[in-house]
Symmetry: D2
Subunit: 344 residues, 4 copies
């Protein structure tokens, strides 16, 4: 495949309320260095984080202007002269923090996120260090594979990064965001029980189809944490907390002694009023999860292939050209599953 | 339920070639101590170990005469005055080494096996310390539950006792013995891939129905270790080695670097000729597995319930009265799955 | 040794501000059951918890009246007819939650604490289930051994219960309470670096003698969390948070990405104002630690013996008769290390 | 520092009995690639492996001719344009298998060893991928740091790679080779007990100075495995087996139930006669250890610094020019500790 001189890309030039700073333009195709890989990107997906960067609400370091998007998947077009781990034709997916290879994240690695500090994936071609890519699962399309970068890996890290999930344990997921759905799928594939919360009967139905053992409507049942606690005799081992209004109060009620509440995001809004000292009276653990390492992502890919897990993609898929509509669509919260973008 | 003064039981009085020392008789019903539990046994099952004890081939400590059988399940009839963890009506299953509560097995605990050192399960009523029982999975019959004591727990220990199995990893099981079938079921429930070996197309079919991803006929393919190695791109993480003639040579070929070969039994016969130094050239680990602890069994029960795992029971089920026929049936190796015994 | 008919004991009869409900009296010597052990108690020690139970400030379940004290050590005088793990003359120490044998604490086990729900150690003789005792380290006196029950085991659980401490990691301890000093000693024995905080030069000197690599005066340096963070290049892996006024704010500054803050107690006073969402921006974990299991205590005893660790005992040691003075002495906070009580 | 056009180096050109194929010559200084680092090597050390490569006895893949030596340490002189993790002046040590970054070793990584497949360290200047280096401990000289590459990391992997050593456990080391001495030092720093075997009173004395709790003379005590077993009440958790004549038989006697025998090398000679089935009757694990990953080496460096561990270097240190004498000296086995080489 011949590589053109320029490409289409979305650049975050500035921050404002209406995604005006998100600009579609022609950009260069970076030169492939000795240890680098040129990837024809064919799929991408969006995260809540991607929305709040151009909106100016992202509380972590950025280096604007930057090519938007962290989730990307495609095929290797060319490799540098010293690359040993990839060859032309390999299907790959991007690692979010390019420098986070294994173990706890370092300060430097925490500042190597795609689409924030480093140029991201909303473009046709990307060049990455060979360590900044992971083999894509053979069973997934490019758009599906792209969803692994953030939502998939965050979920895997929550379940396996501190106290690995075991068959027979119980996991509680909140709502139908990307990390929650991945966690539901991973946990079921791993032989765990899953309790899911949602706000509508229609979504409840979908959650059950994905394997949820119990679904609780948190609108009807304000005290759903207590309800969840009673679903299973041995208690809830892992809670995936999405950080919404008052959810933590219920998570603290739900989790068993020595269980873990993984906080994977924040939905802005009010801060939880619960005291940190609750970890003592509830004898539990609360952990902040920030995506994950390449070592973890390699394990996750193996699990996805072995169990033929298909990431849940919202029915409305966008193109690179219409990517800004994807941002607006997701901001209005009408989606179920990941919002995907195909790239030609 | 009223408890009679005596009960029927199988006592191992002596050792010989033809199970003559295995005697059906009337025995006492032990008195329930303060921290003990009286169990009406309703199900039992046999292990290879159970066969070779009366045959005089068992290489570990025994204390004859002893009531035969280690696998047992039933219902709590009465509890001692200081028992806090059980109440009448609870469904329970026996722990093999009564003293093995958690962590590595101690010397003393290794000498507390039912049906060898302590009176076992081939009787109508048993009395056990409250710590020597585990809650039976709610989804199993008594005979099914009984199979967990040895075969189930050995399999769980192999998969989770040293380097816990993760979704996406690959497990190799040999043949269709109890531990091999449990491992197949546990590994599939846990999101792993399974490669199974067998000697016939009929058994291969059954293995596939149980979820095996790959089945290799070891009669037709003498070099099945090499074949297995090629089945999966990332290699085989766990091998459950049953210790048959020349199987270890193939297991060493099959296992990936830093994978584990768990040796779970021995089928008598010739010793493997492979040198222990092979662990170095193969960069692998070989582990001897001796059943497991109560801590592990509790975890296993949770996994069995959450995944509704049904132990594979041979179609021919025996009664307490005909138990000696079960010994003979199993010795001739015509069974598939565990040989079960119902107890009235 | 002959056992008398009655013994001296401290009973918590009621709750008030001045330890009036803590009464010294003659009590019975419980009969030894079949699986129980009679222990001649010779040493005890106090915890903050022990003080606030008679003061009515303890937020967990109690069952008054109850013999006070949870920390106890002594010698086995007699064993029940079915006891297999102890014999006369064995030196033992009490397990805090008598039912917490291994794994996560259960609801039932969380209600089996000595000196709160079950009769405790401030008496001459105690009877315990054989599983409620642990072998005392050979290198310790009875008073020293007694300090392991709560402070020792809480510290061990903090360091090894979730993410085991490794040589080369760094631990931060606050002040000179029992858990903090144990953690300093355990961490140094395990090859870790230790940063300690304190309020006086005299205590700083003692902390250095115990092996602290860095000592920070938190009175002089209000921003000691930041200071601590800069002491070591790789960051602080474990913080032992005692829950004092504003300490958590500093702990959050100190801990490295993916480090753990173990909250081991509360000193009453104001609740921390820090939001739980800080675990996300700090990418860290906060864990509530509630003493520990018998499995952990057995490991701890091995470590204490191998490294000849001597618990730090305050210079003023009390007797059973003067035990109420010990409560008052500790309440006034003049002590350094554990407040010990010898029992004749 | 200016870099000359050529350098001195030892090239393995052929294999023979007398190190004739090991040739001292002028070689080029490789060009620094974009992700590579130029290192001025100042220290090296030898391993048994280094001796048997030119002797033609090494059973693993080689790619001759190759610059000899895998252990190297020095200072960064220059970095490629895309290097982010190193800068001029950094003190570094080489990673043995350059491709082994984390997790189990892959097939490809197992073929990336320095001084065998890739050009090694017996030269003045080396160029390495930035991932193929690790920060050298601040407390070590270049020669001391160099010994970490093979012996240090193999020891660390044995102790922490499968079942991490805990304070209070017991480790058995055999003889006074490099891995055995590192294990002694690491285990003592980590709060474990150490039993060492040796053949002379003089060496026994040195082992005790290094902290060994027990030393057994294996010449005088042929049944030293049994003796070792009796040294400690709780048994031996880790045995570091060097693979000498009949040592394995004793190691199997020494190790406790569920302990690990790590086989770290082979001294040629006869294969052990012990059957692999011994792992079952001894209920133990035997593991082949092949150096280790970068992730492990980073942890090891932290432990070395925190505990100021000084690798044991033989009193006779060689220079690059006299390196062949170092090979001969070590082959004759007169050394104690690592044989070091300084490089100008």
């Amino acid at each position: 495949m011949s590589v053109p001189a320029t490409q289409k890309q979305w650049l975050i030039e500035g921050q404002d309320n209406d995604f005006k700073g998100l600009v579609y333009q022609d950009g260069p195709i970076p030169k492939v260095g000795e240890n680098e890989v040129l990837v024809k990107l064919s799929g991408a997906s969006l995260n809540y984080r991607d929305l709040i960067i151009p909106k100016g609400m992202y509380p972590f370091p950025l280096d604007l202007p930057v090519v938007a998007g962290s989730d990307g998947a495609g095929e290797v077009l060319a490799v540098g002269s010293k690359v040993t781990t990839w060859k032309q034709g390999d299907k790959v997916v991007t690692l979010f923090n390019q420098g986070h290879q294994f173990g706890p994240i370092s300060d430097a690695a925490s500042k190597s996120g795609l689409g924030g500090v480093l140029d991201g994936t909303l473009r046709q071609y990307g060049v990455f260090n060979e360590n900044g890519l992971v083999r894509a699962p053979a069973n997934l399309s490019h758009v599906e594979a792209a969803t692994l970068t953030c939502a998939g890996l965050t979920s895997w890290n929550a379940l396996y990064g501190l106290k690995p999930l075991k068959p027979g344990e119980t996991v509680l997921v909140q709502g139908t965001g990307g990390v929650s759905l991945f966690t539901l799928q991973f946990a079921k594939a791993a032989g765990a029980r899953v309790i899911a919360t949602t706000s509508s009967a229609a979504k409840a139905e979908k959650l059950k189809q994905l394997g949820a053992d119990f679904v609780i409507n948190y609108v009807e049942d304000k005290n759903w944490g207590e309800t969840a606690r009673k679903c299973v005799p041995d208690g809830i081992d892992h809670v995936i907390e999405v950080g919404g209004e008052a959810t933590l109060t219920q998570s603290l009620k739900a989790v068993k002694f020595e269980g873990i509440i993984s906080i994977i995001g924040f939905l802005g809004g009010t801060q939880p009023k619960d005291s940190i000292m609750e970890v003592l009276s509830r004898i539990c653990t609360i952990r902040g999860v920030y995506v994950g390492s390449k070592a973890q992502m390699v394990e996750m890919v193996a699990a996805i292939e072995a169990n033929d897990i298909k990431p849940v993609i919202d029915q409305k898929v966008f193109t690179l050209e219409t990517a800004k509509e994807a941002y607006e669509y997701m901001w209005k919260k009408g989606h179920f599953g990941k919002v995907g973008i195909t790239i030609e």
